[in-house]
Amino acid sequence: MSDGIAIEMRGVVKQFGEVKAVDHVNMQIRDGEFFSMLGPSGCGKTTTLRMIAGFEYPTGGEIRLHGQAIGSTPPYQRNVNTVFQSYALFPHMTVAENIAFGLEMKKTPRAEVDKRVNEALDMVRLNAFGSRRPRQLSGGQQQRVALARALVNRPEVLLLDEPLGALDQKLRKEMQIELKRLQERVGITFIFVTHDQEEALTMSDRIAVMSQGKVLQIGTPTEIYERPTCRFVADFIGETNFIDGTVSATEGMSGPDYCVALTTSSGLTVRGLSARSIALGTPATLSIRPEKAHLSLAEAPAGTANTFRTSIDRVAYIGSDTRMQVQFAGKEFDVWEQNTRSTLDREAYWNAGEQGHLWWPTENALILTE
């Protein structure tokens, strides 16, 4: 009946007074998926999560949990659990009492509660801590208690509101791996809210990038990074160079994509791919990642569609890469070259102040109109 769709949102709107926090959001989150909502603060991702949890009711639209409309169901009647950013553990209860809370509310028999609490403690490797109070635990341990407290209820969907935000960098990395492993083991749908793109890329099956209450793109980490559909997504995820211009030609196809040429205001012609055809004269932006552009001191490889003479402004050697800023169409342009050959030979190497050739294959760049 629900076709493997755990959460379906159709035209969901949430308005706080004049402000539209969430603006016609459509999403389908599949069963067993690790789904992230990614965006800057205030983009509506937390409000969307709170509507799925039931802490906020949508102003408009429809939310379905396994086919059942839950838009106005109170949180305590939804089979959905939340891991809060602040963990929100009950300070007056022990770890075991915290974990048992949800089961007790559902009037689960005592023996079963004890059994499942122990399993949950096992799962997050906190067996020895059942009788401690939350404040006697470290941040990472509290985090795991919060996870156990939610998962012990076997929710249809687990919601996580920036759960790693309060942890230090090292612990954060560990928890990312642990969280992902846990999700694969229990097979429950995770909906994860974060503003950290690296976190989202590492853990998610799919990501929804949000800005100003709208979903801009939903896709796998690779799709989001390699084929952003708009300038915001390209800019928000990773580093990107943008070159503005107007469409001057469509030069055939490359697989399913159109090869589009842009002419900049300074008269340069740059080429990239577009998933759809764009009318001539349309203002558009070429977007290219620094690692997908190249800089040669000698001539660019023959037959490269995009080759430009340029001067090197800055060179930073960071071990694996050499990161350079060059001049292009009057703007700074980032190029990262992998250090695949010995860099001790400074003569054959990039140096600030030198001239070089900036080039990229057409299929490394994207043409965006939004």
């Binding site: 949180p75 305590y76 939340t82 809060f84 929100a88 007056h92 809370f101 949800g102 404040r135």
Partner: protein, 296 residues
């Protein structure tokens, strides 16, 4: 070596002594205050309670246990104790039932309204206490506002003044701010995300309140209850004015024993006050143990 260690411990001892005298000098104003205004009067009362009342009521020798004997056997006194305890208890419970929702309402109000609402709780305090009690007499009298409302609603007029109910109304009214303020402070520190967490785990609002919010705001409940209970039991003005001397509380008896009765009886009054102090102290210790042990 031995000599050295002896001299060192000698030095330590001297330092210790010096530190202690410093501490004493720092504490002395407070200690002086406590001794003069708390310990000395208490000792005087203890001594009085074992003396014999003279013809003017002043304590005289010989020492005796008669005062305590009378308090434990004469019905007048035993009844006053029991009545005081239950009126104090009822006042506390009603103040709590009204005060908790009030405090919660103020916390949940928009921030700019909070100060105004808190002020509204406090403003009655700026009017003289007696005046406010007289106002209640006027409201509750036979042709007062309360009876007018009762009649308007189609019921016969009631005797409201000079009843236990009137005393309770006056006591709850007078003590409500002492309940609301500590509760406000306690609820203000409460993290409302915990309520969301409880809802999320399947607890409806009421169960979330009982299992999470109430236990975590217990320090406020305890403080407010003690602040209401103790003055209630000892006061005599409200029970006098609104109870019309029909509702004798401990405070009323004490006032009479020391001032009004002919002749007064200071030793008996002292014994009465002491017994109540002991009962209250024990009661409050037990109460705090049970309500605040789980405090974060």
């Amino acid at each position: 070596m031995a000599v050295q260690s002896v001299s060192r411990s000698d030095l330590e001892r001297r330092l210790e002594r010096q530190r202690r005298s410093e501490l004493l000098s720092l504490l002395s104003p407070g200690l002086f205050w406590l001794i003069l205004f708390f310990a000395v009067p208490l000792v005087v009362i203890v001594i009085y309670s074992f003396m014999t009342p003279g013809s003017t009521g002043r304590p005289e020798l010989p020492l005796t246990l008669d005062n305590y004997g009378r308090l434990f056997t004469e019905e007048l006194f035993v009844n006053a104790y029991i009545r005081s305890l239950w009126i104090g208890f009822a006042t506390t419970v009603f103040s709590l039932l009204i005060g908790y929702p009030m405090a919660l309402f103020i916390i949940l109000a928009a921030p700019r309204w909070r100060t105004v609402l808190l002020l509204l709780v406090l403003i009655p305090f700026w009017t003289n206490f007696l005046v406010r009690t007289y106002a209640w007499m006027i409201i509750l009298q036979n042709n007062g506002l309360a009876n007018n409302i009762i009649q308007f609603l189609g019921f016969p007029r009631q005797t409201l003044l000079n009843t236990t109910g009137a005393v309770l109304v006056g006591l709850v009214y007078g003590n409500l701010p002492f309940m609301v303020l500590p509760l406000y402070a306690s609820i203000d520190r409460f993290d409302f995300t915990l309520m969301e967490a409880a809802n999320d785990l399947g607890a409806n609002k009421w169960r979330a309140f009982l299992r999470v919010m109430l236990p975590l705001t217990m320090p406020g409940v305890a403080a407010g209850s003690v602040l209401v209970f103790i003055p209630t039991v000892g006061q005599f003005v409200i029970s006098d004015l609104l109870g019309g001397a029909k509702v004798d509380l401990l405070g009323n008896l004490l006032q009479r024993l020391f001032q009004r009765s002919n002749p007064p009886n200071w030793p008996l009054g002292s014994a009465m006050a002491l017994i109540f102090m002991v009962v209250l102290t024990i009661g409050i210790i037990i109460y705090f143990r049970n309500t605040t042990e789980d405090d974060r």
